[in-house]
């Protein structure tokens, strides 16, 4: 039998956040008279050291055994107060938080009504806290290894950091080479470093690092388990090239019967590749891959008398019999760095991207100005009749960003700067060209960005405020129809070339990752972080972290910073070697469980399984909760028809008195 409840109620002013709307003294007086309440106090900041000491001393001196803290959301400070009461010798789960800030003072104006509501919330919390049970959290060993999904700059950086800290890291990349989007860029704003020059050393590092196992041309197929103990299965797609034998000489690609026939993914389709290819010269690993769809032998079963690549490969590396392989391993933490998709400019048909060859996207522009690109860095573009060096160049910003008509309300955060950078690069190459940039706003927020924007303007690049409505053809020119909204002048601007500053979108294939790792999306459809400010790299799934543009558009410095943040977070369970499993999980009443398995189906964390137990000589199936996977969300409880599964601390007998307390009051 547990001791009679002696409840302490601690009402926080939160500076003026609560105290300016809720009359905390009245609430304190009221709380003192509630049944089972031994003491009620207010304090300016309950979460501060003196506030916590107040609670701890009362526990010791007044023999309190249940604590109600009336302050902010439990998401904010429940861990703080649990720790505090534990230090005072109480079970940390003997705590209930009444949220009188987010759910009361912040959303109400009338002091009288807000005070009454605060009283209600506290009454309800007192009713519940008396019925809470002591829970013990558990510790399990963590596997000292990490998985990083995606090997763009975010994934590369995160993998390098974890590997440098001394832990085994599996870096899985879907495409044949690491490098991601950054490898496609020419120069980077605002310093104009050559993107490849700063990226390739890191690419090489991650392939040669003794702690990194690079799985390129591979995809994660299955993830099971939980923080500290994830079971991962990866599919290594068949390259049809023996990885160990290939020397990367390239004879196969130049001799391929369909050499340079297929649009190169790396060159955004502006350049061509063969059926057997290396995505780009600096690719890591420098191993060739056969695209089964474009290869004559693999798609049609016949390539001349015998496949040319096989004939010319001195190393004998071509192997058409190769099949997908699967590798399985265990890791303690996972970093998702799957990146973004550039906005598909075809979805803004008014800009004629599909119709005119001289309307290109920012990503295509990167390849066009790149020395390793399809034109060797020369700005040459077809106007539909001939290849010309453009004299009149227009940029349009916010294509697919800040645009409700395509469902993207967010700002893509990089387009302002990359258009400025590309304008600068064109200016360098074509000193006489007339360059103008159509913009809605210019957001040059980063370090050195405003300065760079100023520099570009001084380089005779015109910024015209206005969002073009249409692009059409007149003779061999393109006409950009717009309004200069600063002077209210309608424009029909004749140009040779238009660069669409396309934004960043969540990857089209992100659903697979969401299902694998139980991730959610924020309203902008990028992956949702655990807390927008305080847990920006964490996810709702413990042990899974986010890095880079998969969480939202960002530039390279922010991506690297977030990758390092994700690496440091992932290193916590790895370095500690153990993970603590929260005790507030669901529990099954095996005697009433009817074994229907509804909870198994509905659990978003796959935390429940059916087990066979012997009940008085009968083998029966009942549900059982894996405490390491359970988040205590309560979905199972809602689905259970016989009320046989309930989250601890949120059992019916605990929350019904809470509800009753709310309902009983006037």
């Amino acid at each position: 039998m547990t001791a009679k409840p002696k409840v302490g109620v601690y009402i926080c002013h939160c500076g003026i956040n609560i105290a300016s709307t809720v009359d905390v003294e009245t609430v304190e007086e009221y709380a003192q008279k509630l049944p089972n309440v031994k003491v009620a106090r207010t304090y300016s900041y309950m979460c501060s050291e003196p506030g916590q000491v107040l609670i701890k001393e009362d526990i010791k001196e007044q023999g309190l055994n249940r604590i109600v803290v009336a302050s902010c959301s439990p998401r904010m400070h429940e861990p703080t107060f649990r720790k505090a009461i534990q230090e005072a010798g109480l079970n940390p789960y003997f705590l209930e938080m009444a949220n009188i800030r987010e759910q009361c003072s912040w959303v109400h104006e009338d002091t009288g009504e807000a005070t009454e509501k605060a009283k209600k919330l506290i009454t309800a919390s007192v009713a519940k806290v008396r019925l809470l049970e002591a829970l013990e959290s558990k510790e399990v060993d963590a596997e000292p290894a990490a998985l990083v999904i995606g090997a763009g700059i975010a994934g590369i950086q995160a993998a390098l950091d974890i590997a440098d800290a001394g832990f085994k890291t599996y870096l899985v990349e879907k495409t044949p080479s690491v490098g991601g989007r950054m490898a496609q860029l020419d120069k980077t704003f605002p310093t104009l470093d050559c993107s490849a020059c700063i990226l390739t050393p890191k690419m090489v590092d991650c392939a040669s690092h003794p702690n990194i196992e690079l799985l390129s041309y591979s995809e994660v197929e299955e993830v099971g388990g939980y923080i500290g103990n994830f079971d991962v299965k990866v599919r290594k797609k068949a390259r049809y090239v023996d990885f160990d034998k290939c020397t990367g000489c390239g004879d196969c690609a130049s001799e391929c019967r369909v050499a340079d026939r297929f649009p190169s993914e790396f060159d955004q389709g502006m350049g061509k590749r063969s059926a057997i290819y290396l995505p780009f010269p600096q690719a890591v690993p420098a191993k060739y891959t056969i695209d089964p769809e474009s290869c004559l032998y693999l798609s049609r079963g016949k390539c001349g008398k015998s496949p040319k690549c096989q004939e010319v490969c001195g190393a004998g590396a071509i192997n058409f019999e190769q099949e997908d392989e699967f590798v399985e391993f265990k890791v303690g933490a996972i970093i998702v760095a799957t990146g973004f998709d550039p906005f598909d400019a075809s979805r803004k048909p008014e800009y004629g991207y599909d119709d005119y060859p001289n309307v290109i996207t920012g990503m295509e522009m990167e390849r066009l100005v790149s020395a390793s690109g399809p034109t060797g860095g020369k700005v040459l573009i077809s106007n539909g009749e001939e290849e010309i060096e453009p004299k009149e160049v227009a940029f349009i910003k916010c294509v697919g960003s800040r645009d409700e008509s395509v469902g993207n309300e967010y700002c893509s955060r990089v387009c302002c700067m990359y258009t400025a950078k590309q304008a600068h690069l064109i200016r360098e190459k074509l000193p006489d060209a007339n360059i103008r940039i159509y913009y809605m706003d210019v957001r040059a927020f980063g370090k050195g960005y405003e300065e760079f924007y100023d520099r570009v303007r001084r380089e005779n690049v015109r910024y015209i405020r206005g969002n073009p409505s249409e692009i059409f053809k007149r003779g061999n020119k393109l006409v950009v129809k717009a309004e200069d909204t600063l002077t209210s002048t309608p424009l029909e601007d004749e140009v040779d070339m238009v660069v669409l500053g396309v934004g960043l979108e969540p990857r089209a294939d992100m659903r697979k990752m969401m299902d694998l790792l139980r991730l959610s999306q924020s309203p902008d459809r990028f992956f949702l972080e655990a807390h927008p400010k305080l847990r920006p790299v964490d996810t709702a799934t413990d042990g899974v972290f986010l890095a880079g543009c998969c969480q939202g558009p960002k530039d390279i410095p922010d991506t690297v910073a977030q990758a390092k943040g994700a690496a440091s977070s992932a290193l916590i369970p790895l370095a500690r070697g153990k993970v603590t499993i929260d005790a507030q999980v669901a529990e099954v009443n095996e005697t009433t469980c009817r074994g229907c398995g509804f909870c198994v189906e509905i659990c978003p964390y796959s935390a429940i399984e059916m087990v066979t137990v012997n009940q008085f000589g009968h083998e029966v199936e009942v549900a059982r909760v894996n405490e390491a996977l359970c988040k205590g969300c309560g979905s199972c409880s809602a689905a259970c028809l016989s009320d046989s599964i309930q989250p601890k601390s949120f059992r019916d007998r605990q929350i019904l008195p809470q509800i009753a307390a709310l309902g009983a009051m006037k």
């Binding site: 229907c596 509804f598 189906e601 008085f616 000589g617 199936e621 016989s642 007998r653």
Partner: protein, 326 residues
Amino acid sequence: MDLEKLRETAAEVAAREDVKYLIGWKKGTYGYRVAPGFIEDADGAAELIFSPLCTANLATYLTLVEKLPLPRGEEPDDRKTALMVKGCDSRAVAQLLVEKGIDRENVVVIGCPCPGMVDPELLAEKYPETEEPAEVKWTDDGFIVIRDGEETSVSRDELLAEKCRLCRYPNPVISDIMLGEPVETWEPAEDEGVNEVENKDVDEREAYWEEQFSNCVRCYSCRNVCPLCYCQDCILDRLNPTWVNRSVNFSENTAFNIARAFHLAGRCIECGECERVCPANIPLGKLNRKLAREVRDKYGFEPGLDPEAEPFQASYKPDDPEDFIL
């Protein structure tokens, strides 16, 4: 249906070593009454019948079996139960399989294609029940009522039960043995009962159900006859916490009936047994069919058609409609 064939098949099944007993319909003690028959051997099969009076859904007995504690060392009796089913009854079996309420290998399903049952109340009203056993038989276009040695032909429309007028699955959806040829399905009638409730405004609807639920005596017959109400420990019986108070009043009656209806949403197979057994004549069918209609219209799901289906109440799809959720 050929009664000889039915009895012959039943005798064979009941005689099987791996079958504990066969549950079918047999004549009751008087008038039109039909009782469940638990046939343990071949001889017992001679009692079995299948007629327009076999309204009862026998699937409910599958989950009523009590698993008494076994003395140490004794093996549980894991022989199969054989069950005779109409179309609607077979849907209960399929839904029980979805919910793992029963194991497929523990049942032998004997399917009886069903031309439609008579409404027992309509029948008793027009052709009052006798002390002597009476019978109803199918004809090509209706029924023959045989009572006091007198045969009366009756049209199908006159006596067909409401659930059968609405029926979309007269042939068993799942069976191990099928008796006879499948019947030709008929165009189901428009569900006027549910339409009528739907067309009421909120106040009228509340008044309607208040009147109905006020009659409830909380005998729990509906729950006990329902093949899909089989929790060993029903939450409506719990005392801690007390979800539904035992007092019989409008508020608690409503809580009971609504809770039961919600627990059956996406599970009810519309056999109509709850309404048939209700001593207070509460139109429970309307309540359950309304929820079934919602589930069908909103989610395109019908329970009890596919024993491999994902249970509706536990399934989630990202594109599930949610515009009607407040």
